[in-house]
Subunit: 289 residues, 2 copies
């Protein structure tokens, strides 16, 4: 049986973990090519057996590919598709793991050559660590992997990608593109911005040393995702701007109300604010376990 | 040797853990009385050996006390001191574990009977779980326990409390009261408000079911402290109002700048925002380990 040629472009946390998970699930079925700009990354990918072959040259890495996973920061995805498009064989499937789906699909679907298919996907498996060194074959187990058939170009290609993803242990689900981008803003993008903003609050304080002593578990957890990759999150903000700024405005409005409640000493309002959040959050977390 | 009579008022996470830690450290040295309004809590405190005696009646619980730990939500602390003040013996030390120190000290120091001492303290060991069932004798190990000698009424009493606290495994440090309240707002109080606010953002969304699928590790962590006790956090907001509203205003200003950067597509500004936050947060967490 001919091996399936899989090319992973961008061997970071997600790309590296996809390679590791697929090789672990079925080592003989896949021939995996890793493409990255840094040779140290490629060496690590080979050493950890996340790939069978490692290549810096994009074109060389994709010519034989049956399926291409693009796992770079969001703003690099479309330029990469433009670059590789002329070299792909008929039937190649391109899929990406970017956190914003509308922006990417709008552009990819205009530059896709005939006979090449696009599948829009988003694994909900981010960590604040990044890079091949943080990759883990178990990263996707029991995590949601969202597919967006609405902006994918072939039902058959979606099934093929879904079948591969199932091997990683992820739970597959589908969403509409607008729902995805709006929900991702609320659940993921805005919390990242807010976590970074809370770290910046320290700049308004003149005694970092004193603050250090107080940085207990609460601050550590709330700002954990502020340690995420800056390139990745800049790109996300720029490619889901409307949903993110809408949610940030809503967050500002909620904070204004809290400020007003505190200034008026309205304990009932504050209690309702905290207790509704607790109930909602406990239910959400239990449901998503 | 006469045992030291310790009374703990409020057997929640902190009060229960103090009892467990002291009994574990030196079971024969302390006679611990637990005071709480719910009999189920008191039964659990006895069953878990967090106390030697359990009493609902406040007066009866404090008459013989050498040291009293008040571990209730902040707004209950001052009324409790008012209630017990007439019944305390000479030399009794009262200490509290409230998250806001200025408000409490201002009031307690006006109602303290002569010969009774106050020590202002704040263990940085909160969890989102609460109650005696979540109490843990190891809760304080390697956590900061802030003492505020500036608003305590006896150096000797501060030393006595510090010596007890050292038995829990906590690291003891001191702060000025204004620094404490300002830093606590930035590091703890505002992150709690923001976490709850982010959960409320879900109300602006019409498809909770879809959001559930996206509630990955980022959202879970950023909003973990939104599952905290609503009574406790309402009280904190009302007793540290100025520092909290100042910081919330600063947070709003930072979010406004991010909204502007996104709307202008200013990738450089966004990248700086995220990368400074990452550097600062990584340094802070490493330093506070």
């Amino acid at each position: 049986m001919k091996k399936l040629n899989i090319t992973i472009i961008g061997m970071g946390l997600i790309g590296g973990s996809i390679g590791l998970a697929l090789k672990e699930a079925d080592p003989d079925r896949f021939f995996i090519t890793a493409v990255a700009t840094r040779t140290a990354t490629l060496e690590l990918a080979l050493e950890r057996k996340a790939a069978d072959r490692a290549i810096v040259d994009l074109t060389e890495g994709v010519v034989d590919a049956d399926i291409i996973f693009i796992c770079t920061p969001v703003l690099q995805i479309v330029p990469i598709v433009e670059k590789i498009a002329p070299f792909l064989k008929q039937g190649t499937i391109i899929t990406d793991v970017g956190s914003t789906k509308g922006y990417i699909a709008d552009r990819i679907n205009h530059i896709l050559p005939p006979g090449v298919f696009y599948v829009s996907g988003h694994p909900m498996a981010g960590l604040e660590q990044s890079g091949m060194q943080a990759a883990d074959s178990h990263l996707f187990i029991n995590k949601w992997y969202i597919l967006v058939p609405e902006v994918s170009t072939s039902t058959e290609a979606v099934s093929t990608v879904a079948e591969l993803i199932a091997l990683t242990g992820a739970k597959i689900t589908t969403m509409k593109v607008e729902d995805h981008d709006r929900c991702a803003a609320v659940i993921s993008h805005v919390p990242h911005v807010a976590a970074a903003a809370m770290v910046h609050l320290l700049d308004f304080s003149h005694d970092m040393e004193e603050s250090l002593k107080l940085a207990g578990g609460g601050f550590r957890d709330t700002t954990r995702i502020a340690s995420s990759n800056a390139d990745m999150w800049s790109d996300i903000c720029l490619t889901n701007p409307r949903a993110i700024t809408d949610s940030l405005q809503n967050l500002r409005a909620i904070l204004s109300q809290v400020i007003e409640d505190i200034e008026e000493g309205d304990r009932q309002a504050l209690h309702t604010f905290f207790s509704i959040a607790k109930k909602r959050r406990d239910a959400l977390i239990n449901a998503s376990l």
